[in-house]
């Protein structure tokens, strides 16, 4: 691949070494989702499914235009619809494209115990390398935005790749290209932030005093950002968290040492090609194993 070799990694799961990131001159990228321009047409969903060869089972009508009704291993992006009556009593239909935010400080990557299963490229994209994934579900717990989903079929975790295959050959992600109204833009993070600034000025001129950019600093900023008409109340947009945080359990390694150790055993069995034999005490109890399995099952059950 042209420029997304591992030299471009800046972070890598379960690895103490910071990769050399030889090409750190590379510009950070960002996808900007301007909610005020979005018409909720789901072209992004459609293009994502088509490009990434994802076809969820056909569901049911569940009382909303939101379909499928949740992210899944086959649904990497999803329009969420919220009917909101504002202070003036006027209706606003707040429609938000949900999916991986590509955090600068990715909780999924921090939580992941499988070496190299989650990587972050120098351009900021957080990618799941599925053949290294052990399906433990820790990325799900680690994600402040509830994005990754574990497949029942192959017990691996999936989410938006920001079309790393397209970006690697110099193309924009499929959702960005398709978006009919230009509500999804793609470029360097600097450019996207500047463009967001212009949009916010326009929105303020149209009476949205609290228009603003969603680029939460608690996760180091994100490589998927939103322009919101009500940036003071992101929760209005189908529960976009106002203060996303990587859970304390993931941040504080102590708290998760046990389950991680347990999964580490499973991982060692799966990832045989390292040719290293596990040495030292195996102190995982049956209780720990049960706990670990439960985490895995909960996650897979949630995926239709």
């Amino acid at each position: 691949m042209s420029d997304l070799q591992s030299q471009d990694y800046i972070r890598r799961s379960a690895s103490t070494m910071t990769p050399p990131s030889a090409r750190n001159a590379e510009q950070q990228v960002a996808k900007l989702i301007d909610v005020s321009r979005c018409i909720g047409c789901k072209a992004c969903q459609s293009a994502c499914m088509e490009w990434n060869d994802l076809r969820q089972e056909i569901g049911h009508f569940e009382g909303s235009y939101q379909n499928p009704n949740d992210l899944s291993p086959d649904v990497w992006t999803l329009m969420k619809f919220a009917e909101y009556e504002n202070e003036q009593g006027n209706l606003e239909w707040l429609i938000r494209k949900d999916g991986c935010m590509h955090c600068e400080d990715p909780g999924c990557l921090k939580a992941c115990p499988a070496p190299g299963a989650i990587v972050q490229y120098a351009n900021g994209i957080v990618d799941f390398i599925s053949d290294k994934c052990i399906g433990c579900g820790y990325c799900v717990k680690g994600c402040p935005f509830d994005v990754p989903r574990i497949s029942k079929k192959d017990h691996k975790s999936y989410k938006c790749t920001l079309c790393s295959d397209r970006v690697s050959v110099g193309l924009e992600p499929a959702c960005v290209k398709a978006c009919p109204t230009g509500a999804i833009m793609f470029g360097t993070k600097t450019d996207m932030t500047a463009w967001a600034g212009e949009r916010i000025v326009d929105l303020k001129s149209r009476g949205f005093e609290n228009a603003g950019l969603y680029d939460p600093q608690a996760v180091g900023g994100t490589h998927v950002m939103y322009v919101l008409h009500h940036a003071d109340k992101p929760e209005l947009y189908s529960g976009l968290p106002a203060h996303p945080r990587i859970s304390a359990a993931v941040e504080a390694w102590k708290g998760i040492a046990k389950p991680l150790a347990m999964v580490g055993i499973a991982l060692a069995a799966v990832v045989g090609f390292f040719h290293y034999i596990v040495k030292g005490p195996n102190e995982v109890t049956e209780e720990d194993e049960a706990q670990g399995e439960r985490v895995l099952e909960e996650e897979t059950e949630n995926t239709p």
Binding site: P20, E50, K279
Partner: protein, 197 residues
């Protein structure tokens, strides 16, 4: 039990792996290749310019097919996306257009003529000759029977009202013109299209 993350890594042997790979230089390792992004799927696809079949925004599309149109290969459409040169859609597509691939390859695409006799409970596959010979026969017999050459006043009206046609809304103008010629030459007047719905 209590264990630091570093200890965890050591236990599972991965700390060593990371160190070694780090020492080797990350980019050259086989692991890095394996971890590389999904290969770009259009590298050797053939690109054909076309127009979306749905609404009359008429978005320009690029159809990507497998195969280079060599004599011995049958093309298969693998992907469709917006034509960035097109002045209206500028590469964008709506949720229908972005999913055109799935209508091209719909399992309910028809592959062969089928016929259902009067009172029949199933379709059966038939040849084109059977279908078109039979349709022509039925049409001619009815036209001969019900064609109105003159009205009550004796004026020439040359119309045929007992067989009608609804014309396609997504077929080309060239198809439309040929259809118009054929149908009107027979005097057919119960003839309409989808403009109203």
């Amino acid at each position: 039990m209590s264990m630091t993350r570093r200890e965890f890594i050591k236990f599972t042997g991965l700390g060593l792996a990371a160190s070694s790979i780090g020492a080797l230089g990350f980019g050259a390792s086989g692991e890095a290749q394996a971890a590389a992004v999904r290969p770009f799927k259009l590298t050797h696809a053939t690109e054909t310019r076309n127009t979306c079949t749905y609404c009359s925004v008429a978005c320009g599309i690029l159809i990507y097919s497998m195969g280079d149109r060599a004599k011995n290969a049958r093309s298969n459409i693998i992907h469709i996306e917006g034509d960035p040169d097109h002045p209206v859609n500028r590469g964008t597509l709506c949720p229908k257009g972005a999913a055109l691939l799935d209508v091209v390859h719909a399992p309910t695409r028809l592959k062969t003529p089928r016929y259902r006799p009067p009172g029949g409970t199933e379709f059966k596959e038939v040849s084109w000759d059977f279908a078109l010979d039979r349709i022509a026969r039925l049409m001619k017999d009815d036209r001969d029977k019900n064609f109105i050459a003159r009205n009550a006043n004796g004026d020439t009206v040359n119309r045929w009202t007992s067989v009608g046609m609804l014309a396609a809304s997504a077929s080309s103008s060239e198809t439309s013109y040929l259809t118009w010629k054929a149908v009107r030459s027979m005097g057919m007047v119960v003839f309409d299209n989808q403009a109203r719905v």
